[in-house]
């Protein structure tokens, strides 16, 4: 009888300790850096030309992905270790009207969102994913990476991609064109995908300005005329005027999702239709770290546990007198 009761007691105590301490020490979401840079992708402006896909490949020295007999365009269907940026298509029914949820179609860009509280950084055991404290850009460092691929599971957007077809593969992801050897942002430039975008659907700039711009667009109505900037919102190359053909869906993706992202999206269609994941405001990174740090805070709990264990084992072993 003794074992069962004491086991139950231990189990219950452990459970209780885990609950109580977890609640007490929650680590909140990380906050956006005031100087963070990012991008705003406006699905209603995107014409699906995929200039950004080609520019991205060129900047990152990657081969185009060719499907069937189509040699004109890069026809990558999803992110892969050869594709850091892809334009996907939503289509419904007859797919005739742009930016209409029913019988319509819409475009959606997929690339690293440069999360404010990135899962990939939190889970990587060897700090091979790093977030720049000023710009907020999340870079990958293959020279540190062990290839465990925890970052792929920990990224809510399935962004990091491993080169499975190489004997000595590596993780690939969009590093906002700022990895060593490219460093477009550090040199004062903008991302390649924003630079080549003919309509300003992909717009580069400081996160704060992009967020303001996104919210301004939310207030527009179908039929309104708006002057859209191209390139870098802090110093636009040019503008173009356009009449709104559809109302914006009132939601800036990335303002809050899982702690927010520096790459934000707006569109006329709800984001779950565009394949965005079901995220709430709290980041998984903050929840996982809360749990981990509660249990291992300064290794104090394990140290106390070890002291107690050592005492008990020694006592019981001596009493036993064998093995």
């Amino acid at each position: 009888m003794m074992d069962r009761r004491s086991f139950l007691k231990t189990a219950t105590l452990g459970t209780a300790a885990a609950c109580v301490s977890t609640v007490a020490e929650a680590r909140p979401n990380l906050e956006p850096s005031p100087e963070a840079v990012g991008m705003l992708y406006d699905s209603t402006l995107c014409v699906g030309c995929k200039a950004c896909v080609s520019a991205c490949k060129e900047t990152n020295s990657m081969d185009p992905v060719i499907h069937g007999g189509n040699f004109q365009y890069d026809s990558a269907m999803d992110l892969s270790s050869d594709t850091l940026n892809v334009i996907k298509v939503y289509s419904n029914g007859t797919a005739e009207v742009k930016d209409s949820e029913t019988d319509g179609f819409a475009f959606e860009k997929r690339s690293c969102m440069h999360c404010v509280d990135p899962g990939c950084v939190s889970v990587c055991p060897v700090t091979a994913m790093r977030k720049d404290p000023l710009t907020g850009i999340v870079t990958h460092h293959a020279d540190a990476c062990i290839g465990c691929r925890t970052c792929m599971g920990g990224c809510p957007y399935n962004v990091p991609q491993f080169e499975y077809d190489e004997a000595f593969g590596r993780i690939q992801k969009c590093q906002m064109c700022n990895q060593e050897g490219v460093e477009r942002i550090s040199k004062g430039g903008m991302t390649a995908c924003a630079e080549v975008c003919p309509t300003g659907a992909t717009l580069f700039g400081p996160r704060t300005q992009l967020l303001e711009e996104a919210k301004r667009r939310m207030t527009l109505k179908e039929g309104d005329t708006y002057n859209y900037p191209r390139g870098d919102i802090s110093k636009p190359d040019s503008y173009h005027e356009k009449d709104l053909e559809a109302n914006y869906h009132n939601h800036v993706w990335g303002e809050k999702e899982a702690g927010g992202t520096n790459v934000m999206h707006i569109s006329a269609i709800p984001f779950d239709k565009l394949g965005m994941p079901p995220l709430e405001d709290r980041s998984y990174a903050s929840m996982s770290e809360t749990l981990q740090h509660t249990l291992y805070k300064g290794m104090a709990l394990p140290a106390v546990a070890l002291a107690g264990l050592t005492y008990m084992v020694k006592r019981n072993k001596d009493k036993d007198g064998e093995e």
Partner: protein
Amino acid sequence: MSQAKPLGGTIFTPFFIAMMVVFAIGMYFLGVRFMNGIGAVANINGGYPWGIWVVYDVVIGTALACGGYALAITIYLFNKGQYHPLMRAALLASLLGYALGGVGAFIDMGRYWQFYHLMMPKHMNFNSVMLEVGLCVATYILVLIIEFAPAFLERIGAKGLLKALDKVLFLFIAIGILLPTMHQSSLGSFLVAMGYKISPLWQSLYMQPVLALLTALCMGFSIVIFEASMSKAAFDLDDETHLLSKIGKIIVGLLTAYLVVRFGEIIVHGKFGLIFTSGKNSVLFILETALFVIPLVILTSEKKRNNPSTLLWAAVSMLFAGSLYRFNAFLLTYNPGPGYSYFPSVGEIMVTLGIIAFEVMTYIVLVKTLPVLHKPKHA
């Protein structure tokens, strides 16, 4: 000194040779993996970064190797010295299970030639569950080697060393209880960071470590019953049912605690309805729960607990329950979003089977050559 003896006898039985064949096939596919990349063998992809090499070899394999851990708690924390006869075999099985879990993690590592970065402070990320699991498992393998060393030292007759080791062994036993407590619970914490990809019936933002630990302990005790029963049949050993049935009683306590936490979490978070409305996941959940309840029902009855065959069935059901729980959470209900699916390839399965075959072969060789098991008195 223990009363364990090497069993002796031929090593190359037909069963052993069959294991060698499985191992050889596994090695062939492993060669392909190292020559042409993981993708040349495994079906993992952009949405499913972990396949059976992680989920079976590491997450389930190490839980199945918790026998040494579970017995150490019983013997040294709850002072039940009568379980000593089971300890060495359990330690050996734990050592093999963990060592091969380590091997599994290594072959799955995309950039294995840099694995030592895990041990370099300048690279370490202390927020990472993976870091803790990696370091903890690696250290525990060393501790298991030390804990098992007396069997080897007895065999070669190194009396002085044996005595010296015995003086400090208590420290390693204590570490050997702490480490699995840490990493077995952390294997559950992995799921938290994967967020929505884990089905709500298996996701719990705070209870994961508790659930993982309780099931690992149940699996540890069950594998002790399983191994002892198998060894008894295979090598014609003494009957240990009186000890094993007491272990069955411990499992009842742990299993009850597990089911209370598991269902408590589901009910408190208003997820009870999902048990019946989640399609494929509902089937998996109900199957999993049934496998957990079967050993509870069997082991609660004193009569069934004392019957070697029903006791074995309870243990087997428990092992399947804990394994399915892990498979469900990490793979079968894992959902990274539309466009991705995963089913292991033949090569992937063969690599895992090859690893298991190696484990079985090593176990057989060692119990025949080292003092691990207790030889029958009537022999």
